[in-house]
């Protein structure tokens, strides 16, 4: 940025009468904070890599887990998360334009561009909230089988499923079964395991089909599993034939049913997958949230004319640094958690 001939007052300079690198104290400290925060996120992502690399279970495939769009049924792999990334990057661009307007002491420009940045931030937060809620709600849930089963899939492949293999249900049946399961547990906790109980059958029939009546018409094998290098695992396969589905359904282990994600189990696979999802995206979302709050406060200050009075808009630059940092972290989280 080109200089200007205003004499520098002693108050602006750092305590010793000098200012290293010609930057103000606030800007320098913001850079220091960003380096330390970047180390924190770097540590988190490295921890994610170590845990993922060390996990024996197959690690879920991002495209299969995140394929929903709000309000639509069907599979749109990673489209929503790409949209979120785009929103955040656009908000970064509007932030840079706000900084540039500040350098021209253009108050109206700053108000416009900073306002758009805040809007982008809110959209990102809302989208992330929806992602979380859908992740927790799940896409039909799954269960583990208690004994080995040989099954022929729709594509004609014969798979040998070991005991403990995860099998997933399709969304419609899965949600229905989930409701029936929780209804059964509500009326008689023990009955849920037997599938019927004397006292609860009447109440169950009135509200939901009894557990034992519900049977799936199709199941999904290897729903979230990636194809392994040299291993026998194959990508997601559907099983629709009546007898094949019955074979797997008969081998189901009742207490292993998991719908979506919660504190003790999740339908996507290893518990660490859900743990890291919530922690990393949550920690990042917290940063976005605080960034939006700070942006709003500064935006109100700009409108009130505080920076015109001060003579410079360097505060916009400083919060701009923080906002770009938040965007940068998201780019890395997106690459390592969802893509790779």
């Amino acid at each position: 940025m080109s200089g200007h001939s205003k004499p520098i007052s002693k108050e602006e300079l750092w305590g010793g009468g000098q200012s290293p690198f010609s930057v103000s104290y606030g800007k320098m400290m913001m850079w220091f904070f960003l380096v330390s925060d970047a180390l924190t996120f770097g540590g988190l992502l490295t921890a994610y890599g170590v845990v993922r690399h060390g996990t024996a279970n197959p690690w879920p495939v991002g495209e299969q887990v995140f394929e929903a769009l709000p309000g639509l049924s069907g599979a749109y792999p990673l489209i929503y998360v790409a949209l979120m990334t785009f929103i955040l990057i656009v908000s970064s661009v509007t932030m840079v334009l706000a900084v540039e307007a500040g350098h021209r002491l253009d108050k109206k420009g700053v108000v416009k561009w900073l306002g758009l940045t805040i809007l982008g931030g809110f959209f990102f937060l809302g989208s992330q909230a929806w992602e979380w809620s859908h992740y927790i709600h799940g896409s039909g849930g799954g269960f583990q089988i208690s004994q080995p089963v040989d099954v022929t899939t729709d594509s004609g492949r014969t798979l040998h499923l070991n005991a403990g293999t995860w099998v997933h249900m399709t969304p419609t049946f899965g949600h229905e079964y989930e409701h029936a399961l929780s209804a059964a547990e509500e009326f008689a906790p023990a009955a849920a395991h037997n599938g019927h109980g004397h006292g609860s059958e009447h109440a169950e029939a009135a509200h939901h089909p009894s557990l034992s009546e519900l049977k799936p018409s199709e199941l999904v094998i290897n729903k979230y599993v990636r194809v392994g290098k040299g291993s026998e695992s194959v990508a997601k396969e559907m099983v629709t034939g009546g007898t094949e589905v019955e074979k797997i359904w008969a081998a189901r282990e009742d207490h292993t049913f998991a719908f979506g994600a919660n504190m003790s189990k999740n339908e996507y696979g290893p518990q660490q997958y859900a743990n890291f999802f919530f922690f990393v995206t949550g920690f990042h979302g917290f940063h976005v949230f605080s960034g939006v709050l700070i942006n709003i406060i500064i935006w109100l200050m700009v409108i009130k004319g505080a920076f015109d009075k001060l003579g410079h808009y360097e505060m916009i630059e400083k919060i701009g640094l923080y906002w770009h940092f938040v965007d940068l972290v998201w780019v890395f989280v997106f690459t390592f958690y969802y893509l790779v």
Partner: protein, 125 residues
């Protein structure tokens, strides 16, 4: 040797200002970099869609490609959007070098430990 750390030519960061013409040129640069970042993202998404995740060498190359393109995007964001490229050379080094060294070590040690944990899991679980 010119001291890089003191204020020279009155170019204190607080006084950073530019006029309309310079502003127009700067805005043009911002839009150009935005276009570049978008193009890089499109390439990444294309790579992710085109190449099958089959555990072979192609996918390893795709992953490396993702990493490389993400680093290029990060460099542009830090140097242009965060204006680190316009700062004094030494400030650039103060911010980037410790981080680069530390993160490279962390990734190396993370991979090494991760491989070890996986081998132990496979042998003893």
């Amino acid at each position: 040797m010119e001291r890089d750390d003191l204020i020279v030519n009155d170019s204190y960061s607080v006084n950073a200002r530019h006029g309309e013409q310079e502003g127009a040129a700067i805005r043009k640069k911002i839009w150009k970099v935005t276009g570049l970042l978008t193009a890089l993202t499109v390439v990444e998404v294309f790579m992710g869609v085109q190449f099958k995740r089959d555990g072979g060498n192609v996918w390893e190359a795709v992953k490396l490609g993702f990493l490389f393109l993400t680093l290029v995007k990060a460099a542009y964001i830090v140097l242009v959007f965060m204006h680190l490229g316009d700062e004094r050379r030494n400030l650039k080094y103060v911010v980037l070098l410790p981080y680069a060294l530390f993160i490279m070590y962390l990734i190396y040690i993370g991979l090494w430990e991760g491989v070890s944990v996986q081998e132990l899991n496979n042998s003893y679980r």
